[in-house]
Symmetry: C2
Subunit: 340 residues, 2 copies
């Protein structure tokens, strides 16, 4: 395995947006990437999308599979050499690293899942960038790195960072790796700490669960927790706009932003609106109780998004609006068979 | 590999110091552990010391190898199953996890070294604790997690945590894992963010390097950087006292403290005092130049140790006193052949 680095041998030349030709998007068939890729192609970039299809669904990429500027690679990023080989053959200008586990609860019962699919995969991506000369990475972190913060809304400078899930621990580990690679190997990085992102092509999350459960059994809706958990939901188009804006506006070696929406939405609201949208508003909701949905769940999330606002970006949709739109998306994509 | 967890099946029974019988110490033949183990044995504990002898030296354990309460296991903690088997056979009450790479510069040229020997080994230790029912961990982190902080002295609540070395990235990743395990699996943890620890049985560091270099060639002393780097040096006995005090005084599910000394010491002072102690005070010092000793080096470190002071502990030795003592230790242990 090639691990020795000839320090100082590589030039400090970093492309900016207008010069970006080739982009590798990891987690390509997942929720966020499958919304991102059509935009990148429309902007004239060449995109190589990588996904092992463990959580992602190839059908999410149907709209772009025929595009001559898009290549899909079904590949796991856990073997380092395969990842290095991929990056050496593609020679990307920019890596949009979205591959990760997205199911916090799964990571609590399968304790090596986030370590492997999050931390080690991110190391592999960074190492492949170093060895292939790729210069820029956009990394999707999470507000979960703040654990259960005592300051809300929580700014980027909040400490201590004491995550309460292995998912969040892995995001923190990935941020540290991105930061160290940025400092030592002349890689420029943008880290975005997301709120809850919602919209078309979901692969997980409360709305997704509610719609699937109701499609299976529309006599009642079982909800984890007592319904009072409340978080900020960001519509995926806003999430993409926010990342693109932050990428263009910030030009430090290492840039980091919270990415969130205005307002916040309770699980109870989401459950009730899902029922309403599906025409099932008389169906009873059964709450499992407890303030958390599951172990490792942070029941109240408020991220301070003023740093990204200061460089000129605000989301179009409030948290409630994002949830309403995402319920519509999910019912259209997942709920049809139940209502036909 | 056993990864599924039956949540809620284990009782919340955590021992305190007087009840601790069996302690596993990782990195047993390393610098800090080899100073710690004689104290634990003198306090009446049974100790199992584990080390792969990659950085540690078995000779450091000579004083305790004949002690009936001590067992040494030459074992690598990177294979998970071996680590689980060890913990299941020992059934420790407390794990003192000191195993790690200690050479930041090595980790920059061998990029997977801290990931494997730090992050993955720490995951394995925590997973082995979960599966064997071990309830408490003391973890040695580092002030390096603060990166290059804008606030000095730097308190535990400082953010953002943007490490500039892969060593520091790994310590941050380990902290996140410890935090997540503490929250989800009923493991109680004490994290100590160390300043630079010095004293007998060194395996790395500036003093160690100076003495070895001079033993080889006493015509000059080459020093990395311009000599102005200045940090807080903690004598190892103070480090052990501080950890023991913090462990006894703090009883949250997750406890975290900076552990440092008063004052600070420049590299120039260390170089000059080493020459003086070796009777080589006319030997010229050649500085390589630059404000950092090496890539990933944080040139100025000031940790705020007031949190540990508030629970009743302060170090006996100032930073300069710690350095003076450690130079004496190193010259006695390493420098003899040069002077005979």
């Amino acid at each position: 395995m090639p691990v020795c680095y000839d320090i100082g041998s590589e030039p400090n030349v970093r492309p900016r947006w207008g010069q970006i030709v080739r982009i590798v998007v990891t987690g390509a068939a997942g929720f966020i990437a499958s919304n991102l890729i059509p935009r990148l192609l429309a902007d004239g970039h060449d995109v190589v999308g990588v996904d092992n299809l463990f959580l992602g669904k190839k059908a999410h990429l149907d709209p772009v599979l025929g595009n001559a500027r898009f290549q899909f690679r079904e590949q796991d990023l856990l073997p380092l050499q395969d990842t290095v080989d991929l990056f050496r053959s593609v020679q990307p200008d920019l890596v949009w690293h979205l591959a990760a586990n997205s199911d916090i609860s799964y990571g609590t019962t399968h304790t090596d899942f986030d370590l492997k699919g999050g931390t080690i995969v991110t190391y592999n991506v960074l190492e492949a960038m170093r060895l292939s000369g790729a210069r820029q990475i956009i990394f999707s972190s999470s507000g979960a790195v703040y654990g259960e913060p005592t300051v809300m809304p929580t700014p980027e400078v909040y400490g201590p960072l004491l995550p309460i899930s292995l998912y969040a621990a892995s995001k923190l580990a990935c941020e540290g790796l991105v930061s160290a690679y940025a400092h030592n190997y002349d890689i420029q990085a943008w880290i975005f700490r997301f709120g809850n992102i919602v919209g078309p092509n979901p692969t997980h999350g409360a709305i997704y669960d509610f719609v699937l459960k109701l499609r299976k059994d529309s006599s009642r809706l079982r909800v984890l927790g007592d319904g009072t958990q409340s978080k900020q939901y960001v519509y995926v188009e806003d999430c993409l706009d926010g990342m693109l804006h932050g990428y263009r506006a910030a030009n430090e070696p290492l840039n980091y932003f919270n990415l969130s929406a205005e307002g916040h939405t309770s699980v109870r609201y989401m459950a009730e609106r899902t029922l309403l949208t599906m025409g099932l508003d008389t169906v009873p909701i059964e709450y499992s109780g407890g303030s958390r949905g599951w172990r490792g769940d942070v029941p109240v999330v408020r991220l301070d998004a003023s740093k990204l606002a200061k460089v000129g970006w605000k989301p179009r949709f409030s948290s409630d609006e994002a949830v309403d739109r995402a319920i519509g998306d999910a019912v259209r994509q997942l709920g049809a068979s139940d209502r036909s």
